[in-house]
């Protein structure tokens, strides 16, 4: 007998570190909601550990990290390590939005970031990427 299954894409929009600009994060949160996602917003100034805690406990399919401070090279790998520690690394789609210089992209991707969306990326592109790549939960 088939059991009725109800699945929504769950997404954590995370602001990490000291940068206090969350307009972008707010806009994205709303766009994700309107796309039918369930969005958890972390709030400002979160430590990598808090982001990991939220991502693990909320069992999100997608972790979107918004970062404008320039500290991505230290903060993002810390989050990745944390996800690994709780076995959440493999099946969480991690995307980074914000100002990431070209020369840093490779390093972040090596750390496990699945995609980086710079300023001016159309919202539809990000949403489409998530819809196409969000892990399937059984």
């Amino acid at each position: 007998m088939s059991e009725e299954s109800q699945q929504n894409i769950r997404c954590l929009v995370a602001k990490v570190g000291l940068d206090g600009h969350d307009r972008g994060a707010h806009v994205i949160t709303r766009a994700f909601r309107d796309a039918g996602f369930e969005v958890i917003y972390s709030g400002l100034h979160k430590a990598p550990e808090e982001i990991v805690q939220a991502a693990v406990q909320e069992d999100v399919d997608v972790l979107g990290i918004s970062i404008l401070s320039g500290a991505h090279n230290t903060l993002v790998p810390k989050i990745m390590e944390g996800l690994e520690e709780y076995d959440a690394f493999e099946d969480t789609l991690v995307i980074v939005g914000g100002i990431i210089p070209d020369e840093d992209r490779e390093g972040l991707e090596e750390a496990g970031v699945d995609a980086i969306f710079g300023p001016g990326t159309p919202m539809e592109e990000t949403i489409e990427f998530i819809e196409d790549n969000a892990p399937q939960r059984d």
Partner: protein
Amino acid sequence: MAPDQPELVEDLLDGKHRALARAITKIENRSPGYREVVSALYPHTGGADVIGITGSPGSGKSTLVDKLAKQYRDQGLTVGVIAVDPSSPFTGGAVLGDRIRMASTATDMDVFFRSMSARGSLGGLSTATADAVKALDAFGKDKVIIETVGAGQNEVDIVKTADTVAVLVPPSSGDDVQMLKAGILEIGDVFVVNKADLEGANRTVTELRNMLDLRDGEEGDWDPEIAETVAESGEGVPDLLETFDDHTTWLDESGRREEKRHTRYAEELRNLLREDASELLEAELEARGGIDELVARIDAGETTPYELADDVVEPVRDALADD
């Protein structure tokens, strides 16, 4: 331990956070196999005190939950929180914002906070919440807090699954009739006038007291308490905690805990049966070409919804009558 126990359940009972998170997702999504998981968790439940917190938007629920969690942690107790937020009936999307308030216990993994959206459909929200609570309970949490907006039957149903129910009332929210209408007065074990530093708090306490006095309680019933807090600063929270403990003690001593549990099991069984039955009937509808096909006959004036319903249910009725 049963050998056929799902691996997920074993990991959960082993204290793996990821497994707990995954189990709740399964429960929430009604994924295939979720029933086996909940069923396997069942024998491990019963250890947690479940506290339901409800109140109008902006009454300070999330902030209070944060302070409560902190206080429990200071006592060395572990805490699980399920925060339910409404979802858009149009897109199904939701912004689950309660987590932002959990500042006091950030990075403390012994507070397991989970946001859930009220995914409109099927009305199984209270079942899903109750099952998620079981997962937290089986995981070994000492206290489980359910937080939900106190508007509508859905939320009242959710919060009713708790052992102790706290209703938050902001000062000067005045309108007595509104509260009675919502059926909120009947479900509260503790009424919390939060933001008690604001003007009108005293009046609200008096009004509440008056209204509670009008309740027809039976002999031996719990007499609802009124507490005053300022969740923002944590004022009054220790007293509130004590009141919760008093209620827990009363539940045990009066035998009401068993009674409540019995009622809850009955409700659960009913919900499951209802879910199953409606699924069977959905399948039957599909087999008959789908609901639109049938309704077309009503459109054409050939039959009525009553006749059709009778017709569709008939085989089920016959099968059950045979037993």
